[in-house]
């Protein structure tokens, strides 16, 4: 039976050729490390978000009068609704952590360098889209926490003169967070962002396969240092086959990812649901200590610390710009960050600053 299906597919799509070129004869460098699997882990994480999100979509009602109730019903009445909601919420948080770790390691290994500038830009844009997913999804349960955290975040653009109010009104669909905002964020979350995101994933994966996976720079200096004049795919004839060796490593990391997710669901189910997350949104009553999600805490704290808000937000936009266009700004040929003390120092400082601001913003 299995052979019959295989034969049927072989005749129609050339299955053997496909598996040979894409899996068994596709070779990755021998010294490829565990950090190179993080992109695949993120991909699996996104897949889990999509699957759990579709289940939630069946029962969720995007209306201010019903949104909170529908989420509570998913948590209490829908069979195993809690499981999918928890997977979606916990998954989104650890997914963002994985994506950030992916970018940090790619940066440290210098894999953003030519010819992979576009891969980096695509990845950076994907991070921004992921954060927008997080922001828009946060409002949907229509709780006190989500209502006021969204109020804070959508207030940020008002620091810009002339256009700021317009941007804030565009996001909110009015002067305040209302049913219209909920509608907009819902559409953003389930209809506008997914196709944008899928296109970026397609571009990212296409570029990785087209250019060839980058070797780990530590201990070796196998990358071309001469000027890049023509397209050349990076191949590793003496490397190990992608399937099954590297693929198994990737799967192992996915298992760890899912295990961490279920560890949190089992032992810390209320990690991301403080009291305000179980109270329906009340536009008339502002709760104390409202703050955005952990991944927005550092920028939020930075904004609170810089006395001129316009300058604060401008600096953040500049930093995002530098982050996205970094491969074009970094003209050094040396890939190994351990041989570049200045860059290493600045990077460590920024990373430490991020962590400090995040915890500072929390308290």
């Amino acid at each position: 039976m299995f052979n019959k299906i295989k034969k049927w597919l072989e005749v129609r799509i050339g299955l053997d050729d496909l598996t040979r070129t894409q899996l068994t004869e596709y070779r990755v460098p021998k010294n490829v490390n565990i950090f190179a699997t993080l992109g695949f882990v993120a991909l699996a994480g996104y897949a889990l978000e999509v699957i759990s999100g579709i289940f939630l979509l069946i029962y969720y009602t995007p209306h201010p009068d019903h949104a909170f109730r529908s989420v509570q019903d998913i948590m209490t009445r829908v069979p195993y609704g809690w499981l999918f909601r928890q997977m979606h919420v916990m998954g989104s948080n650890i997914l963002i952590a994985v994506v950030m770790l992916h970018m940090v390691t790619v940066f440290l290994m210098g894999n953003y360098k030519r010819p992979r500038e576009l891969t980096w830009v695509g990845g950076g844009l994907m991070l921004l889209v992921t954060l927008t997913f997080g922001l828009s999804g946060y409002l949907l349960p229509w709780t006190q926490l989500s209502y006021w955290a969204t109020t804070v975040v959508t207030s940020m653009p008002t620091a810009f003169p002339y256009v700021g109010d317009f941007i804030a009104r565009l996001l909110r669909g009015g002067d305040y967070i209302s049913g219209i905002t909920l509608g907009r964020f819902f559409a953003l979350h389930i209809a506008i962002l997914p196709p944008v995101f899928l296109s970026l994933i397609a571009l990212h994966l296409f570029l990785i396969r087209r250019i060839g996976i980058s070797a780990t720079p530590f201990g070796t200096s196998d990358e071309e240092k001469r000027p890049l004049t023509e397209y050349k795919k990076k191949t590793y004839p003496d490397g190990s086959p992608y399937y099954p060796y590297f693929f198994r490593k990737q799967l192992l990391m996915v298992m760890i990812y899912v295990a961490v997710m279920f560890f949190l669901i089992t032992f810390m189910p209320a990690m991301f649901s403080p009291d305000e997350a179980n109270t329906p949104a009340n536009p008339l009553k502002t709760p104390f200590h409202i703050r955005p999600e952990w991944y927005f805490l550092a920028p939020y704290q930075m904004l609170k610390l810089i006395p001129n808000k316009f300058l604060g937000i401008s600096i953040q936009i500049i930093l995002v710009g530098i982050f996205l266009l970094w491969p074009f700004l970094d003209s050094q040929k040396e890939k190994n960050v351990f041989k570049r003390p200045v860059l290493r120092g600045v990077f460590t400082f920024l990373l430490a600053l991020w962590v400090v601001l995040m915890f500072w913003g929390k308290y």
Partner: protein
């Protein structure tokens, strides 16, 4: 690249000086909100009562109020005493509804504005009749405290019925029988409240069951204000039945939480196991 940095800085920093006036407006609109970290306390009553100008016996009122059940439930000065807490000059104006402190005999009507059912039962009780007749019977404050001296308004609690307090006016026997009649139902209500607290910590939405408990508890406590032991005993069963239904729901929720924990722990083990297998087979000698 250096020029790029410098020009970017110039582009963004120059307008930030140019729009200096905008900054204050933004700070007012955005950063002074409670979600920016601090709550702007604009309560004229508190500001004046804690100041040095206030005579000592009235100075502790805000502090005692902060210890009370009213504070816990966001019941503020003007909710009982009227007036305008947002306007210092007019805060004690009769035009803004200020009614000040009630006389001793007026206290039940004063509290009864909100505690309607309790007022009705109290007025029909021996306590209420004594107050009406002699002007000296116990009023709400006698048992529950106010915010004078070192008192604060206590949450309804069975411990309020005690020998020291009751024997100020009469012997303790009848009060003790009343306390025994209330005891089991009150104890159960206390346990259920604790259960709700721990369920909330687990992230469970409890309002659906808390509402019936609140109304049961309010009715039961209103009933007690008749100070009629036989009536309390007669109706206790009815309250117990209502409480039993809530208790069953809570137990079901705890059971559901246990099931969830076991189920996700099972999936955790499953994936850990698959991870271990993959780890073992991914170390093949060929590699």
């Amino acid at each position: 690249m250096r020029y790029l940095f410098i020009s970017l800085l110039v582009i963004f920093i120059l307008p930030s000086f140019a729009v200096g006036g905008y900054k204050e407006e933004f700070e007012r609109e955005f950063m002074s909100q409670p979600w920016a970290g601090e709550q702007a306390e604009e309560n004229a009553c508190i500001a004046c009562h804690v100041s040095d100008k206030m005579e000592p016996k009235l100075k502790n009122i805000p502090q005692n109020w902060q210890m009370s059940i009213h504070y816990e439930n966001n019941v503020s000065c003007h909710d009982c005493h009227g007036g305008d807490p947002m306007d210092a000059a007019m805060s004690m104006s009769r035009q803004r509804g200020f009614i000040g402190a009630p006389k001793y005999t007026e206290v039940p009507e004063f509290c009864g504005k909100c505690h309607i059912g309790i007022l009705k039962n109290y007025l029909e009780s021996g306590h209420g009749k004594a107050l009406k007749k002699t002007g000296k019977g116990p009023n709400c404050v006698t048992c529950h405290g106010s915010h004078k001296e070192e008192q604060f308004i206590q949450k309804a609690n069975i411990d309020i019925i005690n020998e020291q307090r009751c024997t100020k006016c009469h012997s303790y026997e009848r009060a003790m029988i009343m306390k025994q009649a209330l005891f089991f139902t009150e104890k159960k209500i206390g346990e259920l409240e604790d259960n709700f607290k721990s369920l909330k910590k687990e992230g469970v939405f409890t309002a659906d069951d808390e509402k019936p408990l609140f109304s049961t508890q309010a009715e039961f406590r209103a009933l007690f204000h008749t100070v009629d032991v036989s009536l309390v005993k007669e109706r206790t069963d009815e309250f117990r039945k209502r409480i039993d239904i809530i208790e069953k729901n809570i137990q079901d929720t705890f059971g559901e939480l246990r099931f969830r924990k076991n189920f996700s722990a099972f999936i955790l083990l499953l994936f850990t196991g698959m991870g271990v297998v993959l780890f073992l087979i991914s170390k093949t000698p060929k590699e």
